[in-house]
């Protein structure tokens, strides 16, 4: 049965006030289209989790959607600070709560969540101040070797949104290029929304099953949204909009210009299709050039 729906319906059905939310993708395939729809629908008190909050959560923090941020690196990758985030944590008292790990810690939390075990052990955090700053970073004595290992608790989001290059109507989603923690986050989550650049027939998925990262059996909704990850990128579809990432440093620095951005590019438009229509230069600037892979023989 088809799970395809509009972004508006998918967010309305699956993202609620107070949810623990993951919009996944490490630099690659970050679903800004979903974030903008969440902002438009006025969700509040969300706990936002990502390794790198990136511009996507900076915008959601600025829009007032978040009460808490769970993260491991809060910068604008390659281009400076996340200013809405900084304003929210540098003010007194802080406007949002934070819970902070390292990248490995966040990866381990999602791995534990995906495996449905309560924690994940890792060799990490010795000699650092992170366990003092975050009481949920703890330790365990290994029952086999007697050594002390750090532990982090499972992260089981209420909803995870993953962006994929292509998916079928049942939500079987194929991803290539940087994979982030998309698989772990989806398996850890109670509900999963797959957003795809392209909707394909199930036969396309079945012709190349090793490329399926998210199986349809764990997916609740499928949204087809070309350019839905812009200004992040989709390998083979469009490049990262580095100009926008650099420009965000200036936009985000001033709360008023940030608000103007949200008014113009989030609240002021209906959906992603309009967002793309109003930037006719996107294709010329960012559309990917072909670099096709070879074929493999799945026969027996």
């Amino acid at each position: 049965m088809s799970k395809v729906m509009t972004m508006t319906d998918a967010i309305a059905a699956h993202v609620h006030d107070g949810d623990v939310l993951v919009i996944e993708g490490f630099t690659h395939l970050i679903c800004f289209a979903a974030a903008h729809e969440i902002i438009r629908q006025g969700r509040r008190r969300l706990t936002l989790c990502r390794l790198t909050p990136d511009l996507v959560y900076d915008q959601m923090i600025a829009a007032g959607c978040a009460s808490k941020l769970v993260f491991s690196w809060a910068g604008n990758p390659g281009a400076g600070s996340l200013h809405a985030f900084r304003r929210a944590v540098e003010c007194d008292p802080p406007a949002i709560e934070i819970e902070e790990y390292s990248h490995f810690g966040m990866v381990a939390r999602l791995s534990a969540g995906a495996a449905r075990i309560p924690f994940w052990p890792l060799r990490d955090y010795q000699g650092t101040d992170l366990p003092a700053a975050n009481a949920r970073i703890r330790s365990v004595t290994c029952p086999y070797t007697g050594e002390t290992l750090a532990t982090v608790p499972a992260l089981n989001p209420d909803v995870t949104i993953v962006h994929a290059q292509r998916a079928d109507a049942d939500g079987n989603a194929q991803v290539w290029g940087l994979l982030g923690t998309q698989k772990e986050a989806a398996f850890a989550s109670k509900r999963v929304i797959v957003v795809a650049e392209e909707l394909v027939d199930a036969s396309v998925i079945r012709a190349d099953p090793n490329r399926t990262l998210i199986p349809g059996v764990i997916v609740d909704a499928v949204v087809v949204e070309p350019w839905g990850a812009h200004p992040s990128f989709a390998q083979g579809y469009y490049d990262r909009d580095n100009e926008f990432y650099v420009a965000w440093d200036r936009i985000g620095r001033d709360p008023q210009s940030l608000q103007q951005y949200l008014d113009a590019w989030v609240h002021g438009i209906a959906d992603r299709a309009e967002y793309v229509r109003r930037q006719p230069d996107l294709v010329a600037r960012l559309a990917a050039r072909p670099a096709m892979s070879g074929e493999v023989n799945y026969g027996y």
Binding site: A74, G78, R123, T128, L130, L178
Partner: protein
């Protein structure tokens, strides 16, 4: 000069965990000159990357095209880093103290920060597991305090004076701190950072004044040679022709 000095620290055939900015320039320069078989691993999951353009971020699509392998981040941190397969890792630092402890988290108190910095990323696990860590940061008195405000990534001794070996850290930690004026390195016995090498034109007294602890000089003090014609030309014409990171 920092990128050149960092590139010279890398040996051919090594597996290197690359960061963006100067570490990236250093790795690409090393690969274009004396270390053609360097294997570059980015935390985003690209292994054996050969970016055709200088990536602005750690997750650039150019890292994927033509790489040897692309894996998920759980594999990066568990199968590569924690399992001890990374020979050299690069770290930046907002603050670094006399024991090589690095702060990239906050300036001031953690709960009420004066300046909120990005935080850990993969730095703590790189500092713990890479067989050796190379730190790149500009020399500045505020950036080289006696004690950092927050230990994001461990150096050679923790706040209680316990050494990294006795805390069970497998890697050697920050073995070189490459600044714009010279290179600091840990004393073999104490683990305290001392001046190991100076760059052309740098003055030892200036370097000493730029560090908040009494800086010892290693004997003999290494004098680093100026960048060669080949190194400069490679940096400017091959690695960063658009002057994204080169000033």
């Amino acid at each position: 000069m920092m990128a050149v000095a960092a590139a010279r620290e890398l040996r051919d055939g090594e597996v290197v965990f690359v960061g963006i900015g100067l570490p990236n320039l250093a790795c690409l320069l090393a690969r274009a000159t004396h270390a053609p078989n360097l294997v570059l691993i980015y935390e985003s999951g690209a292994v054996g990357a050969r970016p055709a353009r200088l990536p602005l971020s750690i997750g650039d699509p150019a890292l994927v095209t033509g790489s040897l392998m692309v894996c998920g981040m759980a594999d990066v941190f568990q199968c590569f880093l924690q399992s001890g397969r990374i020979e050299a890792g690069f770290l930046g630092a907002a603050q670094i103290d006399r024991w090589g402890n690095i702060n990239t988290t906050v300036v001031g108190d953690y709960a009420r920060p004066r300046v909120r910095l990005p935080g850990s990323g993969g730095a703590p696990e790189i500092a713990i597991h890479a067989r050796r860590t190379l730190v790149i940061t500009r020399l500045d008195r505020r950036a080289f305090p006696e004690r950092v405000d927050f230990i994001t990534s461990p150096g050679h001794r923790d706040r209680a004076g316990v050494t990294r070996q006795s805390s069970g850290m497998p890697g050697a930690g920050p073995v070189r701190v490459i600044t714009d004026q010279g290179i600091l390195a840990p004393n073999a016995e104490s683990g305290q950072l001392e001046l190991a090498a100076v760059f052309p034109g740098a003055e030892i007294e200036t370097i000493r004044r730029s560090v908040q602890w009494p800086l010892s000089l290693r004997s003999p003090l290494e004098r680093v040679g100026a960048p060669t014609e080949v190194e400069l030309r490679t940096l400017r014409e091959v690695v960063d022709p658009g002057r994204v990171f080169l000033k």
